[in-house]
Symmetry: C2
C-alpha cells in the first residue's frame, strides 16, 4: 500500500538509518518486517513503516510515520516493542531521527 507524505498532517516521522554488515542485511530486513507485522502496526497511532536498502548494500532505512509524538513514545515504552528493537540493534547500528515534514515539492 502506498504511503503519503503530507505536510498538512500532524504526523511525526521516524527516519532510522541502520548501518549493517552485508551478511546481516537480509536478516535485519526480515526482523524489521516481522516486528512491524506482529507488533508495531497494532500499536496505537501507527501509520506506516517503509523499508529501504541502500544501493551499496551497507544501510537499511526505515521511514516510519506515527500519528503523534505521544503515540510514538508510548510504543517506545512498550516491552514487546522494546524486545524487537533490541533484536534489531544486535544486527546493526541504528541512528534514529524523529522529525516532522516541513514542505513537500512534487512534479
Amino acid at each position: 500500500m502506498p504511503t503519503m507524505i503530507d505536510p498538512e498532517q500532524d504526523i511525526v516521522t521516524l527516519v532510522n538509518i541502520f548501518t549493517v554488515a552485508p551478511a546481516n542485511r537480509q536478516e535485519l530486513v526480515d526482523a524489521l518486517e516481522v516486528a512491524t507485522a506482529e507488533v508495531m502496526r497494532h500499536r496505537q497511532g501507527f501509520v506506516s513503516a517503509n523499508f529501504h536498502v541502500s544501493l551499496d548494500g551497507t544501510r537499511v532505512i526505515n521511514y516510519a510515520q506515527w500519528r503523534s509524538e505521544a503515540d510514538f513514545q508510548a510504543m517506545l515504552a512498550d516491552p514487546t516493542a522494546r524486545e524487537h528493537m533490541v533484536s534489531a540493534s544486535a544486527l546493526a547500528v541504528a541512528d534514529p531521527t524523529l522529525c516532522r515534514v516541513v514542505s513537500v515539492h512534487g512534479t
Copy 2:
C-alpha cells in the same frame, strides 16, 4: 502535494541527513527549497523532495525521489545543481544515502 512511497515503482530514493547548527537551520531549509524550486524540479527524472526538521532541531532531512539512478547521477553532474549542493554543504554536514524501497506496511 502529497508524495507516495510505493515499492512497485523503480524509483530511487535519496535520504540526505544534514546535521546543522540551530543558527543555520532555517537558512538551510530555505536554501534547499530554493534549489528544489529553481533547479532540481526541472531536471529530468525528478519526482519529489520532502523536507523534514528533527524535533530536537539539530537535523534537516530530505527524502527525495528520482525516476531512476541514471537521472539522479545526471543531476549530480549538472553544474547548476552542484552549485546549490555546495551552498547547502557550507551550512551543514550532509550524510546522503541512495536507496530503493523494499517494502511498505501501512494501516
